[in-house]
């Protein structure tokens, strides 16, 4: 699996979204297992189909992304079920800079979302550059949240394209 993940970094997200594999320690896999072994012990998943899922992961990931301009438009809309913005960065990064509309993802909030939020609620995950938020969106999608999305380019893209008053930052 480690070779596979190196070659296809989105494979784990694809596996969890589609088959609920690799999300947490109870559905995780070992680095030294082969994909065939993982398929076999997960209800004998058809290997060919799983490979297709991984190969088409790129396309699926594109669909889970929301561009900053689109998010900005959605946030301005009057809606009965407003989009929820969830920030998955560290507390320090959050303290330094965050979007006003967003909520910091604590373990309590995570528990609340997983157990009581409607599965069709639109949730946009935010991180610094849109990588960790993709993992988060895939994790929630694998838990049945059909409208889990990731802000493309993260808060950095938001600063550049939507709100220049929001300071950009880097980590050292």
């Amino acid at each position: 699996m480690s070779d596979l993940l190196q070659e296809f970094p989105g494979a784990q997200r694809a596996l969890f979204r589609a088959y609920h594999i690799g999300g947490c320690s109870s559905c995780g896999f070992r680095s030294d297992e082969t994909l065939a072994q993982v398929c076999q012990r997960n209800n004998d998943l058809p290997l060919e189909q799983v490979i297709d899922t991984i190969l088409s992961a790129h396309e699926a990931e594109q669909k889970m992304q929301i561009e900053p301009e689109e998010l900005s438009r959605r946030l301005k809309e009057e809606s009965e079920s407003p989009v929820a913005l969830i920030d998955v960065r560290s507390r320090e990064e959050w303290d330094a800079v965050h979007l006003n509309e967003s909520q910091f993802l604590t373990q309590e909030l995570m528990q609340e979302i997983l157990t009581s939020w409607p599965k069709e609620r639109e949730i946009v995950f935010v991180c610094h550059h849109g990588i960790r938020s993709q993992d988060a969106a895939a994790f929630f999608a694998g838990h049945g949240f059909t409208e889990a999305k990731s802000l493309a380019g993260g808060i950095d893209a938001w600063s550049m394209r939507i709100d220049p008053s929001l300071p950009r930052y880097h980590l050292e």
């Binding site: 609920h20 690799g22 320690s25 896999f29 680095s31 209800n43 560290s90 528990q111 994790f139």
Partner: protein, 157 residues
């Protein structure tokens, strides 16, 4: 209905309204399996009461960010152990703790073991099994990884 469809349906039912979710204030025992730092874990809180001269479990609650099966098993297990003594609860294995869900498919037995592990860690910490065998980094760990770094604000362009 196939066995796997039947299992999925039971899990779906169980996680629609999971019982005993969340921290239990004033718990007498707390047990955790997995890595609590990154949230990839299952934690169980247990509170005792005296009943007929015996110390029995009054209430048990759990918190997990794991898969549906782990949530479902923890939900039914926390209901099952209420009213039992610590010894009686410890005598229950993963299959007994998940019995209301019916037989688990082999790949999901691990989820029941996770619940059993949290229960042992709470009631009998010295006998708690080692945490799960090493798995490759999970999605949860990846997006919750918080490496301490210095944040430097960039000058406005």
């Amino acid at each position: 209905m196939s066995a796997s469809e039947d299992f999925s349906r039971r899990i779906e039912e169980a996680i629609k309204s999971p019982k005993n979710v969340g921290e239990l204030a004033g718990a007498d025992a707390v047990g955790t399996v997995g890595n609590a730092d990154c949230g990839d874990m299952l934690r169980m809180w247990i509170k005792f009461k005296e009943e007929d001269g015996k110390r029995v479990i009054d209430r048990a609650t759990f918190q997990t960010f794991g898969c549906e099966t782990a949530i479902a098993v923890a939900s039914v297990a926390t209901e099952l152990i209420a009213g039992k003594t610590a010894e009686e609860a410890l005598a229950m294995g993963g299959s007994e703790l998940s019995a209301p869900l019916g037989p688990l498919p082999p790949v999901k037995i691990h989820c029941a073991q996770l619940v059993e592990g949290a229960l042992r860690s709470a009631l009998s910490p010295e006998e708690a099994p080692e945490s799960n065998q090493a798995v490759a980094p999970t999605l949860l760990q990846q997006f919750q990884e918080q490496s301490p770094k210095k944040i430097v604000l960039d000058p406005f362009q």
